[in-house]
């Protein structure tokens, strides 16, 4: 029986050998680190390095962007990269394409059907409530589409509702506790497919929206601005929370904003449609007005 991994290696080999793509971006196992790392395969014979299994946790979507930006100074001819995506990563690729950071024909999306990654007994939260086992957008699909699809309940959303029910003072101290630990390493920004500005406002030399010191208040400003900048565009891949070295529950904030936007403007999930218009860059004349 051929596995998805075998299919993937064969597909990558063919694509590279036929010259359809210049590079295949997938995962490879790094023995020293004992984890799956991004792998840029440029030669057909290296396609056997690619892996696909539960160890492929990291989203590759942001690497597409990093690669493009690093190579843009040395490469002039158009290139095409194939990227291997899970359902959640595919939404990140849609985000980058929709934000016009890459052209559609620069990317070939190889979707894999995913039943969850990480430790099977302790899946990441996003996998437990996954609705996109099949990537919403792909050029090639590897694996069998599951027959039945059921919408799982969302413990994260329940958690958000629980926090909403608290007193304002309790919420303030809850977040103060979390934000006082933040190092402002900006890992949450670096791994985010929606944080694709060429120059981030937090790197701006002239207009500094936060001071460098990492007090709980400064950090809160950072996190509030970060959450708002990805509002309506966050694809809920959970990479920010995974990358956070201090274990700050960033997805609680992202989920709050996403659920608010869904409720206020009745829009579909972000990153499932290449033609989507992010909800905060458009308007309806009949939007709610009761808050004024």
């Amino acid at each position: 029986m051929t596995t998805i991994q075998d299919e993937l290696r064969e597909t990558a080999r063919t694509l590279l050998a036929e010259g359809q793509v210049d590079c295949v971006l997938g995962w490879a196992w790094e023995e020293e680190l004992q984890r799956a790392v991004p792998c840029f395969v440029r030669a057909a014979e290296d396609a056997k390095r690619l892996i696909w299994d539960e160890r492929c946790v990291v989203s590759l979507a942001p690497f597409l962007l990093h690669m493009k930006r690093q190579l843009s100074s040395v490469r002039t001819e158009p290139s095409r990269t194939a990227i291997v995506v899970k359902g959640c990563d595919a939404r990140g690729v849609v985000r980058i394409l929709r934000d016009q950071q890459l052209e559609r024909d620069e990317v070939l999306i190889i979707g894999v059907v995913c039943q969850g990654v990480g430790d099977p007994d302790n899946r990441p939260a996003k996998c437990r409530e996954c609705q996109y086992h099949v990537p919403p957008v792909y050029d090639l699909l590897l694996g069998e589409e599951p027959k039945e699809t059921q919408t799982p309940s969302s413990p994260l959303l329940e958690r958000v509702r629980e926090i909403e029910g608290w007193d304002v003072a309790d919420r303030a101290s809850y977040w103060r506790e979390h934000f006082s630990r933040c190092l402002r390493c900006y890992a949450c920004r670096q791994v985010c497919p929606a944080c694709n500005c060429v120059e981030c406002i937090f790197d701006s030399e002239r207009t500094r929206w936060t001071y460098k010191r990492t007090t709980a208040e400064e950090n809160m400003i950072f996190h509030a601005i970060r959450a708002f900048h990805v509002a309506g565009r966050c694809v809920e891949c959970g990479e920010c929370e995974r990358a956070c070295p201090m274990g700050i529950p960033l997805m609680e904030i992202n989920k709050k904003v996403a659920s608010d936007i869904k409720e206020l403007f009745s829009v579909p999930d972000a990153g499932v449609d290449l033609r989507e218009e992010p909800p905060l860059v458009r308007y309806e004349t009949g939007d709610l007005d009761h808050f004024v």
Binding site: R208, M220, I221, A224, L264, Y283, T285, V292
Partner: protein, 160 residues
């Protein structure tokens, strides 16, 4: 709270759109309408000029409340600016509430150039609400306003 409530005066920031709300405030002034002097007005070309960063920064720099005011929907000088404000404002207000800022500290209002009376009423009520709430504890500890060291100062970073 270090200062007693008696000494404390609410300090508010109002971002008023040039074409409607600022003119409305002007009308309130020229009509000699009385309202509390606690609001510092910042004139912006359009309510959609107000980035959420402005609101956050105002709160952190010592404002106890922030008002964003613009033209009524449909009357925007730039046709559509306030429709964007309306969407954004709802999201940022709910986000700030979630992060522990009292929702009454951040408000938006549509005030036209003819509504001097409405401006007077909005500011008066807002000041009263904030007076009841007390100082905003969003700024660094003990209500002290953080003054950055010289190397941290930038054109937007200077506290005057």
């Amino acid at each position: 709270m270090n200062k007693s409530k008696r000494d404390w005066e609410p300090r508010l920031v109002g971002f008023l759109c040039n074409w409607c709300s600022y003119a409305g405030a002007d009308l309130a002034g020229t009509s000699r309408m009385q309202y509390p002097p606690n609001m510092r007005v910042i004139r912006v070309p359009c309510s959609s000029r107000v980035r959420p960063e402005f609101i956050l920064r105002a709160l952190q720099k010592g404002a106890d409340g922030v008002l964003v005011a613009g033209c009524h929907p449909g009357d925007c000088h730039y046709t559509t600016g306030n429709y964007y404000t309306r969407r954004r404002f709802q999201v940022i207000k709910r986000l700030l509430t979630f992060l522990g800022v009292d929702p009454r500290r951040v408000m938006a209002s549509w005030i036209s150039a003819a509504e001097g009376g409405k401006y007077q009423q909005v500011v008066t009520e807002f000041v009263e609400t904030i007076r009841e709430l007390g100082p905003c504890d969003f700024r660094p500890t003990n209500g002290q306003i953080f003054v950055p060291a010289a190397d941290e100062r930038t054109d937007l970073g200077v506290v005057s």
